[in-house]
Each structure stands twice: as C-alpha cells, then as structure tokens.
C-alpha cells in the first residue's frame, strides 16, 4: 500500500518512505535563529556601543522575546506525545543533545531576555505607571514589582545589571542557536547533517536572519507610525547585515568545498539531490536570492551614492530576500537531510499539506503569532526612539538618552 501513497525513486529503506520531520521542524531552527540574531543585534549597542543602531535596540529585544515565546510551539505540535514533553525537564537523558533543549531555552528566556528587558525598561515603566491609568498602570506596577525608585543611582544600577546580563547574553545566544545546529550536526547517521561546521553555520545564518528581521520591522513600524526611519541607523544595520552575510556565505562555501574535495561515499547522492530536488530551494532561493543578490545590493550602497528613498526600499527588499533565504536554508537542512535514503541509493519526497496537524496552515499560524505578541509588547513597552520625542523619551529620569541607551551610560 505504502508505495503508492509515498512516492520515491531508486531504493530507500522501507521505513524511510514517510518523511518524518516536517515543515514544523523547519520553523524551529528558523525561529530560534531569529531570536538569537535579534538579540545579537541588540548587543551591538549595549556591549559594543555601536551608537548608530540605537533606534533598533529595544525593538530588537522585544522581537527576540516575541519569537522566543513561540519557539517551542512547532516542536510541541510535532511531538507524538506533546503531553509527555515535560519529561525532557524531569528526566533528561544526559547523553542526548536534544535533552538539554529545555534548560538552554529556560536559561535564555528567564535569565537573559526577561531580566535584560526588565532592567532596560524598569525606570520607564515606573514613570509610565505614574502617567497611565487603569489596566496599563496596574500591569506596570505588577511588572515593576511595585518598586518606584527612579533615582539616578538606581537607574545607573539598572544599566549596570542590564549590561552584565547582555555580556552573559551574547554567549547564551550563541549557545541557544549553536546548540540547535548541534542537534543536526551531531547525527552521524546522516551525511548531509553530520558536520562540525553545522553549529557555526547555524549561528551565522541566525545572526543574518535576526538582523534582517529587525531591519525590516524597524522600517515597517516607522512607516506605520508616520515617522521617518533614521537613515544613519539603517545604513549601519545594513552594513552589519552585509558583514554577517559574508561570514555566513564563506562558512557555507567552505562546507561545500570541503564536501566536494573529500567526496565521501555519500557525495554522489548528495550532489544529485542538490542539483535536482533541492535546486529551487537551495541554489535559487538560498544561495542566489538569499545570499548573492542581497550581498551585491548591500555592497552597492557602500560603493554608489543612492538616494535615501531608494536606499530604504533597497533595505526592505534585501531584508525580505534574506529572510526567505534563511528560511530555505533551514528547509534545505531539515527537509533535504531526509530526502535521500541512508542506503545512499534513492530519494523519497516531501509533500507539504495545506491543512492537517503539520500542514502549511499550522506553520503560518505559528509564524504569525510572534508578530501579534510583538504588537502587544510594543503597546505595553514602546520601543520607539524618535527625534521628535515619542512618549517613552521625554521627562525621563535624568538625561533622556540614558534611559534608552543602557550601556554607554554605565559601562566603564
């Protein structure tokens, strides 16, 4: 029966007829990558003091949190027994790469992101609690734990702690996503996945996607609020995106060259797959549209004088291209890694259903959730930094900048 239902070519082990990890498992590294990438962009300001990216700082933190909150959903939806998932926490099998997921996740969510955002916003929330009424006021009060100290001393303390947390946060973000790469890279049974470079490649592609997402969101939100996006900021973020893209591209190129040169026993089937079944998603979507075109476009902003308006459009298009490129990079790893048989003699196919538990609808809903969460978060914790004074920026404790720019004020 099954051979009619599950199409395959060549010879595959009979148990391989049904591709196991679906589009939901593609979303998992995609979403955690966005989390880690957005956070690393935020840390550019707070740790490396790249002042120009200031307008994106808080937005990047909130974006990171919004995506982190849904990061477990695709996994849970995919499990055969989601109700048993807590067993990963209660009785983790220490030799398993996947068992640490819960701890890495909890560490990042609780100890890094939430703490960082809390200290970043505390003084503002105290102030907003005074300005607002009703529900919002209550929420601020609860989140600030009824602490209403906004003295310069305590604000400085906040900044110090936020700085310390970011410093811990960078390796944590590396851990969060490098770890996701390790989950795949450590599967020695799968020659397409098994690679020491996998965690590093995952990490850099995460940085690329996170930066692109914030770059896009910053422009979209500025547009929606009828504000002008800060061009200096856009240019700086765009430049970092280019650097990250170059490193990512170089790493993946190294991986490809290595595979071609050593040409192990799996080489024939993998190259057949890359030039055949994965041609559209890998060569076109990931490498060409998601890598080469954005790199050339970004480089052109450095070489040529391009008018602001055009440049802005260029950044929008580049971010979209990069975001789809990284999505297909995850797709190619997760789905591609299961398309060929471990007998190295044939391929199976993957058909993305529209409805159903692991269909495209569920995937779209999961991808939409972070944006809803982000909308709520930006209502509660406005991240905007506008030259013409947004609600979050004036009447601040001491110097207006200090409330929003944590690191410069406190580091050293």
């Amino acid at each position: 029966m099954h051979e009619a239902a599950y199409a395959f070519t060549g010879y595959i082990y009979p148990n391989e007829a049904k591709l196991l990890w679906s589009v939901l498992i593609v979303l998992y590294p995609y979403i955690t990558g966005l989390v880690a990438g957005a956070f690393i962009l935020a840390s550019l300001l707070s740790v490396f003091r790249v002042k120009a990216v200031h307008p994106t700082y808080r937005l990047a933190l909130l974006t990171s949190l919004s995506f982190l909150l849904v990061a477990t959903l695709p996994l849970l939806a995919h499990l055969g027994h989601p109700e048993r998932s807590f067993e990963i926490f209660v009785t983790p099998h220490t030799s398993s790469a996947m068992a640490m997921f819960g701890f890495v996740y909890a560490w990042y969510l609780m100890l890094v992101l939430c703490v960082e955002i809390w200290f970043e916003y505390r003084a503002d929330m105290v102030r907003w609690a005074g300005e607002c009424k009703g529900l919002k006021r209550l929420i601020y009060r609860i989140i600030t734990l009824w602490d209403d100290d906004t003295s310069p001393r305590s604000v400085q303390m906040d900044h110090k702690i936020a700085y310390a947390v970011t410093v811990i946060g960078i390796p944590s973000a590396f851990l969060l996503h490098g770890y996701v790469g390790f989950i795949f890279g450590s599967v020695k049974a799968n020659p397409y996945w098994a690679s020491v470079l996998m965690p590093v490649v995952f990490l850099f592609s995460a940085i690329v996607s996170g930066i692109a997402l914030v770059l896009l969101l910053y422009q979209v939100t500025a547009h929606l609020r009828w504000k002008k996006a800060d061009m200096a900021c856009l240019d700086t973020v765009g430049r970092y995106l280019l650097y990250a893209l170059i490193v990512d591209f170089a790493l993946e190129g190294l991986d490809v060259i290595h595979r071609i040169y050593v040409a192990e026993e799996s080489f024939d089937i993998l190259s057949l797959m890359v030039t055949g079944k994965l041609f559209l998603t890998l060569v076109i979507a990931q490498v060409l549209l998601g890598g080469l075109v954005p790199m050339l476009a970004l480089a052109s902003t450095l070489v040529f004088r391009i008018p602001d308006k055009t440049r802005q459009w260029l950044y929008v298009v580049v971010s979209l291209l990069v975001l789809q490129g990284i999505f297909f990079m995850r797709w190619n790893v997760v789905i591609g890694g299961q398309l060929f048989s471990k007998s190295l003699l044939g391929f199976t196919t993957y058909k993305l259903d529209i409805a159903g538990r692991e269909g495209a609808m569920v995937a779209l809903i999961i991808m939409g959730l972070p944006f809803i969460i982000l909308t709520v978060l930006t209502w509660l914790l406005p991240p905007w930094v506008d030259n013409d004074a947004a609600p979050g920026d004036h009447g601040a404790t001491d110097k207006p900048e200090a409330a929003a720019v944590p690191a410069q004020a406190s580091a050293k």
Binding site: S96, M98, M157, V187, S343
Partner: protein
C-alpha cells in the same frame, strides 16, 4: 529609600536564581530516585537499570545474557517468511511503512549497474529480473535492528525512552516515548519507524517477550533454511558463538562506530 529598594531588587534576583537552581537540582534528584529502584517488569522504565542485576518474575535474569544475531547470506533464499512472521508476531502495521525486518534483493549486472529492491519490505513479490543474461550476480539481504553496542538511537533519546537492556537488547518504552523521532534520524540503518498507532517510535525488540522465555525470535524460528541465527554471545557453545567461530563475518557501516551485533556472513561490498 533608594538604597533599600536597590537591595530589595537584588533580593528578588537572588530568590529567582535560587528558585531556578532548585528546579534544576530537583530534576536530577527525581532522576536519581528513579534510577535507584530497578523495575522488575519486562520493559524496564525510564533510564533503565544501570546495574542490570534484576530478575523478571519468571526468573529470567537479563544480565546473564548478551544477545546477538547472525545471518548467513549464502543461505537466504528470499522467501521473506521472516518479514511476514514479524508482522504477525508483533502486530506491526501492514499498511504503514513500518518494518522491523525486511529483505532486500540485489541484482548486479555485468556492466556493474546495481538494482536494489524490497517491495513492501519483501511482502510483495519481487519483480521479475529483466534480461537475466546480463546478470553477474544476485542475492538477498535480510535487514533488521543490529542492537548496536554503542547504539546512537539510545544515545540521542532526550528522555531515555530508548534503553539498552543489560542483555544487549535495545528497547523502547512506549509509555515514556514522547515521539520526537530523533532516534529514527539517528539510526544509520533505517531500522526505526514512527508507529502511528501509539504515536511513538517503533523497532525490533528481538521478540523480547519470546527470548525472555527461552524462545527464539519469530524471524529466526520461521526461517526455513537456517539463514538466521539467533543466540547468546555469552553462551560459548551456543548457536551464535558457533556461527561466529565457523564463518568470517562483516557488519554494516562499521565506520559509524555503532558496533552492531548483527553479523553477516558473505556480505557484498554493495550492501549498505
């Protein structure tokens, strides 16, 4: 006031941290507690029993055995009665792509082209060989879980639902498995599958319910030519020890470092 408040915030942080570490430690406490009480049922729970010194109600002592499996490819005639027997014995789905064992047919032509097939694991008839004159050689290869000594499937299971019993059998606790499928990805031999009826992973148990009663697995029992040799590696005069003594054997994908305990006699280089 400012001073106190700063302190109180620090207190909060401290408490949060203490709570967090508390949860973390509890996790390991629970784990340790589970490990302390070996479960005397046929399917040991959770992380299993590290010491391995327990007995089943029928007096069977897992640590007294260490099972392996030999297949003499010269003797396999591709009747695939083993595939059928396994499905029946273990109620494995006949419609889903779920196979605990299957039989592959290899046809190698004079011009070195290779044709491999295993229609429905061997339950369906093998297609007739076209142009028999150009066939250099042809043979059958039964496949099944090798109950690897260093089983990657056991290594990767995040909750310890896959376990290695002290008698060398790799089992899944289906009441514990969360159905993540990581083990299915980790098996280099394609021996695991996702069982829709339980929504967990599934695999060969070496007919654990039979071998713990002194019987052979169904596949070894039914094989009409004696190609399949089940046995205890500890039993020096047993059938498997004899098979290993009298034949030169090979395992599949030895470079994976999984140390399979499924030994083939006369394995061809084309078989993976």
């Amino acid at each position: 006031m400012t001073h106190d408040d700063t302190l109180s915030r620090r207190d909060i942080l401290k408490k949060t941290f203490a709570l967090g570490s508390g949860v973390f430690l509890c996790t390991f406490a629970v784990k340790a507690a589970k490990g302390e009480s070996p479960d005397p049922t046929p399917a040991p729970k959770g992380a299993g029993d590290p010491t391995g010194s327990y007995k089943l109600p029928n007096g069977y002592e897992p640590s007294a055995h260490y099972y392996g499996y030999g297949i003499d490819l010269d003797k396999c005639i591709g009747c695939t009665r083993c595939v059928d027997a396994c499905k029946t014995e273990n109620s494995v789905s006949r419609t889903e792509p779920n196979f605990r064992t299957w039989v592959e047919r290899y046809v190698i032509r004079d011009d070195d082209t290779l044709e491999v097939c295993s229609p429905k694991g061997g339950l369906d008839p093998y297609p007739a060989i076209e142009d028999p004159g150009s066939v250099a050689k042809s043979f059958f290869v039964p496949k099944m879980c090798a109950h690897c000594e260093r089983s990657p499937c056991e290594q990767v299971c995040p909750v310890g639902a896959t376990l290695k019993s002290p008698d060398g059998v790799v089992l899944i606790d289906k009441k514990y498995c969360i159905g993540c499928g990581y083990c299915i990805q980790a098996c280099p031999y394609g021996c695991r599958y996702f069982d829709e009826s339980t929504r967990t992973a599934g695999k060969c148990t070496l007919c654990y319910h039979r071998i713990t009663r002194g019987l052979r697995p169904a596949c070894a029992e039914i094989c009409p030519t004696g190609a399949r040799v089940f046995g205890d590696l500890r039993e020096k005069d047993g059938p498997l020890a004899k098979f290993l003594r009298e034949h030169r054997v090979q395992v599949l994908k030895p470079h994976m470092g999984t140390r399979p305990k499924l030994y083939y006699h006369n394995l061809d280089k084309e078989v993976r």
